[in-house]
């Protein structure tokens, strides 16, 4: 992501120090991850110490300090989905694509999200891929669903 684009995002929020989280969110959304040099640029332009930005970037699960995959997979691990068997869905996903929640496959095909409750308990157990909800699934459905995402 080039310096100019970063500056545009910073200016969108008025260059205020308290906009740092919103700025990082925009960058994460566009770039899908937060490279170190970008963090340094944001730190300098907003006058927020790099230590504070690193704290924020590692604290919040939405931010990624490593490149993300082309497809975001989210197995809901909320209480209701858990009750309906989401642990087995997650296990199947982990076995199939070989990564843990918070990680990305080495071929950058999939990133596996952390599993917070999505608030659509009726659809559980569910898996969301690139914003599309696959409802009331079984472990047997997982492979077929993921096949569609290259």
């Amino acid at each position: 992501m080039d310096e100019q684009r970063i500056d545009e995002i910073i200016n969108k929020y008025g260059g205020k120090a308290n906009s740092v989280i919103m700025v990082l969110m925009d960058i994460q959304h566009e770039n899908h991850w937060l490279p170190r040099e970008v963090l340094a640029q944001v730190s300098e332009k907003l006058g927020v110490p790099l230590s504070e930005i690193l704290h924020i970037a590692t604290f919040y699960k939405t931010f990624s300090l490593k490149p993300q995959g082309r497809h975001e997979v989210h197995v809901c691990r909320g209480t209701s989905c858990h009750q309906r068997g989401s642990a087995r869905i997650l296990e199947k996903v982990r076995n199939l694509i070989g990564i843990n929640p918070g990680e990305t496959t080495s071929d950058l095909r999939f990133s596996l999200e952390n599993g917070s409750c999505l608030g659509c308990c009726t659809l559980g157990p569910e898996m969301v891929v690139d914003g599309v909800h696959y409802r009331n699934i079984t472990p047997e459905d997982v492979e077929e669903i993921l096949e569609n995402y290259k």
Partner: protein, 203 residues
């Protein structure tokens, strides 16, 4: 700021409003143990060792004395069965990380904390934050950061800043109650400081 009159362990204490109970107690010669507290730093309230009982308008609660401001007619108890239990458990939890820390060991004796109540943890760091806060508030270099959250929380040196700033400082080393900080510094220096990468590419 007007003066405030409160009672600490049965003793009447006068203090300026906005003073913490910890400071008010100290000025009255009453000792409250602390771990993450330092006069040069903003009070942190992380270790919770300084927890005391406060009673106000008939209600009792447990608060961190380093942060709680004095109030008129406040009744404070710095020692009680519950407080002793709180301090004992906090020490036992921390001793699982740093069983050799002199501060922890001496406090453990006083509170009957058993050093091997919990299985040994792999990290020495007790996350008191003295190093992070000292570097931010006193040295204003921000070379050390808290990263991650919850049980995964860590203290990390920021290589690009530490490599420039730490070589003639290292004042945080003496603040660390455990053997973590120095070890972390030298490990970071060996593995991640930029000039090392430069030096090896020059070869």
């Amino acid at each position: 700021m007007s003066d405030v009159l409160l009672t600490i362990d049965g003793k009447e204490v006068r203090a300026k409003g906005e003073t913490s109970i910890l400071d008010a107690a100290r000025s009255a010669g009453i000792f409250i143990p602390t771990l993450c507290h330092h006069e040069k730093l903003d009070p942190y309230g992380g270790c919770r060792l300084c927890t005391v009982e406060v009673e106000s308008r008939g209600r009792t609660s447990y608060v961190a004395s380093c942060l709680y401001p004095v109030e008129n007619d406040l009744i404070v108890r710095t020692r009680s069965e519950k407080i002793a239990k709180i301090r004992k458990v906090i020490l036992e939890l921390l001793l699982a990380h740093a069983p050799d820390s002199p501060q922890l060991v001496s406090l453990a004796e006083e509170y009957g904390a058993k050093p091997d109540r919990f299985e040994k943890e792999s990290s020495f760091c007790i996350l008191c934050g003295l190093c992070v806060r000292y570097c931010a508030e006193v040295k204003k270099k921000n070379a050390i950061a808290f990263v991650d959250q919850g049980p995964k929380r860590e203290v990390n040196f920021i290589p690009e800043i530490a490599s420039k700033e730490c070589w003639n400082c290292k004042e945080c080393f003496s603040l660390c109650p455990t053997s973590y900080l120095q070890a972390a510094y030298f490990l970071t220096e060996a593995l991640a400081f930029p000039q090392r990468a430069l030096k090896s590419s020059e070869k």
